[in-house]
């Protein structure tokens, strides 16, 4: 009797661009998904070995523990400036920043605006979860009107605190910007679209087509005080209407 050999067909494995370290993120946090998508793109494009990442200050301050590539740690908000320094002296390497809404849209507002204005050939992954995660749930520039946070306990009052800032729309106005899109991570269909956008954003850098940013609507179940599923629904129901998904700037050459 012949013994049938059982063969396994590998259909999925951890990207080479991810380390094996278990992440510290909360259940239902979409950082893990975002990290995985970036890592898959680095693998797919085979650019891991020439990539340098710039980590932010925020929950993902230790992002460099989860990625298997060279990484530096920026001061809060300064990642686009650090990335500029690196890319200008090492123009052939792939440089990306990974930033939250406080990092990018609050303290780092000048740095991101000017990196886009200068058309720095870097890739920015912007994690927008409408709140400050690491420091315990304070209001962010992207916090929704009426949203309760620890520094807007009665709900964001637009009279006092203004309206949420829409970074994709703003940066799309810069001539130096080549690819500015907003996607979301709240369900599989959107996660697939997000990965495509991230891949394009890295390809734009490879092809020298200007500043590239993918804004990713993300969750913060812990500080939103929602369970993971509720948090995903929150993105669909409340965040998408304020931060519409779509392509805000796509240089024509990208699609040629």
């Amino acid at each position: 009797m012949a013994i049938e050999k059982i063969t396994d067909t590998l259909i999925y494995q951890r990207s080479e661009s991810l380390t094996e370290l278990h992440t510290h993120y909360c259940p239902g946090c979409t950082h893990g998904i975002a990290h995985r998508l970036i890592a898959e793109v680095l693998d797919d494009l085979d650019i891991r070995e020439k990539t340098i990442g710039v980590a932010p200050v925020g929950c993902s301050v230790f992002a460099y523990n989860y990625f298997n590539c060279d990484f530096v740690e920026a001061a809060h908000g300064r990642a686009p400036a650090m990335a500029t320094g690196i890319k200008r002296v090492l123009p052939k390497k792939t440089v990306f920043t990974y930033q939250g809404d406080g990092d990018l849209a609050s303290i780092g507002m000048a740095e991101i605006m000017h990196a886009a204005a200068r058309g720095e050939n870097i890739t920015v992954i912007f994690i927008n979860n409408a709140i400050y995660g690491m420091t315990g749930g304070q209001m962010a520039p992207t916090t929704l009107p009426g949203m309760k946070t620890t520094s807007s306990p009665l709900g964001r009052d637009v009279e006092l605190a203004g309206y949420p800032i829409k970074m994709a729309e703003i940066l799309a106005n810069m001539e130096g910007a080549g690819y500015i899109v907003r996607r979301s991570l709240h369900n599989p269909a959107n996660i697939r679209k997000a990965k495509k956008a991230i891949r394009t954003a890295f390809e734009v850098q490879e092809r020298g087509l200007g500043f590239a940013m993918v804004e990713l609507l993300s969750t913060c179940p812990t500080n939103w005080k929602l369970n993971p599923q509720e948090a995903m629904d929150f993105v669909q129901e409340y965040m998408v209407p304020v931060f519409p998904l779509g392509d805000y700037k796509v240089r024509p050459e990208i699609n040629e």
Partner: protein, 374 residues
């Protein structure tokens, strides 16, 4: 290389070019702007990176990024801009990557003015940024010294993976003097092993200043401190002028020291046995040398263009062995040789025990002089 007539800021910028700087990131601020403007032309000529950043905050972080690649990188600014850079300087020091920062000091505090001053001594020498770190601080006084010090700054920054400040003032930045530039340094092909450049055929390099576990942070602090102690042992630099038989030691750095040397020449002609001790490294501070001097002179006169900052460091080394007097001008006023000569004459014939009142006495004399100047 032959001597040429060179103008301060441009000479230092060209010196940095010769030293092989590959990334210059700055922001216009008087009186350092010529540095930026010179670099904006020269760097692209050589295919090197130049960015006029949106602010000094951005500039120092660009320097931080470039420093992580192991390439020689620098910025040049002036006092208010340096304040903005404090955070970035602390991060660079905490990450232990090399960087050179030129501070062309001006009158302050606040917006102050654009005239030469030395009021950033504490900020530069004691750190300026937060946390336990120890920058090297070089204080040239002539165009030639500034050229040499910028070359030295890059070498020291790399040797010790440290922040190196080169502090001058508007006088030095604007003066024209004969000086020699060194030849162009060859840029190394390979990055240092610790640098980020893409993790090809090696494990990733991570450059960070966060050590979330206090135990790990303390290990880092100990490492930084030990490195500083090595720097203190090996890298003190100073200049002595007519100190061999001096009974009075004038201690001053940068422009203040240079003006004092004119006064000392005249005083010597009058028979006063005075000499100049001019620190070239403000940090590491020439403690041993000043301590030795305090054992053989009768009086010390510290001359600075600030309210008496190096004065405190001198006093702590002298430990009351001899009276330490002070003469300073502030606000961007540069002392003239005759002012310091008056002081030397006064000190030479003084028997007073100053004992911590040297500032009050100086202020009295200063206010009189200011009235007289009116």
């Amino acid at each position: 290389m032959a001597k040429q007539l060179l103008k301060g800021n441009e000479a230092f910028a060209e010196a940095a070019i010769r030293a092989g700087v590959e990334g210059f990131f700055g922001y216009p601020i008087t009186p350092s702007t010529e540095f930026l403007e010179y670099m904006s032309k020269r760097m692209p000529e050589l295919g090197r990176a130049f960015v006029q950043a949106e602010s000094e905050v951005a500039a120092i972080n660009m320097v931080y990024g470039a420093a992580c690649t192991g390439k020689r990188t620098m910025t040049a600014s002036s006092s208010p801009g340096i304040s903005l850079m404090s955070e970035g300087i602390s991060y660079i020091a905490g990450t232990e990557v090399p960087a050179v920062i030129v501070n062309v000091m001006r009158g302050g505090p606040g917006l102050g003015n654009i005239a030469p001053a030395q009021g950033d001594y504490n900020q530069m020498v004691k750190g300026g940024g937060h946390g336990d770190y120890f920058p090297i601080v070089l204080a040239p006084a002539t165009v030639q010294e500034a050229i040499d010090n910028i070359i030295l700054a890059f070498d020291l920054a790399e040797k010790y993976r440290s922040v190196v400040h080169v502090v001058v003032d508007g006088n030095i930045g604007q003066m024209m003097e004969p000086a020699e530039l060194p030849p162009m340094r060859e840029i190394p092909k390979d990055p240092p092993i610790w640098a980020v450049a893409g993790a090809k055929d090696r494990d990733p390099n991570i450059l960070t200043s966060i050590y979330i576990d206090p135990v790990d942070e303390e290990i880092t602090n100990i490492r930084l401190l030990k490195r500083w102690m090595e720097i203190e042992k090996n890298e003190v630099r100073f200049l002595e002028y007519k100190m061999d038989d001096a009974e009075i030691a004038v201690i001053g750095f940068g422009t203040a020291g240079r003006v004092a040397s004119s006064s000392i020449r005249t005083a010597r002609e009058e028979g006063i046995k005075v000499g100049l001790f001019r620190p070239l490294t403000l940090a590491p501070f020439p403690k041993l040398q000043i301590s030795e001097i305090s054992k053989r002179v009768k009086r010390i006169l510290v001359v600075e263009m600030n309210s008496g900052m190096m004065l405190e460091d001198v006093k702590s080394v002298v430990q009351g062995r001899v009276p330490v007097e002070f003469y300073g001008r502030m606000g961007g006023v540069t002392p003239f040789p005759d002012e310091i000569l008056d002081e030397i004459r006064r000190v030479a014939s003084s028997d007073e025990n100053v004992e911590d009142s040297e500032r009050e006495r100086w202020l009295e004399r200063l206010e009189e002089r200011i009235l007289g100047e009116k």
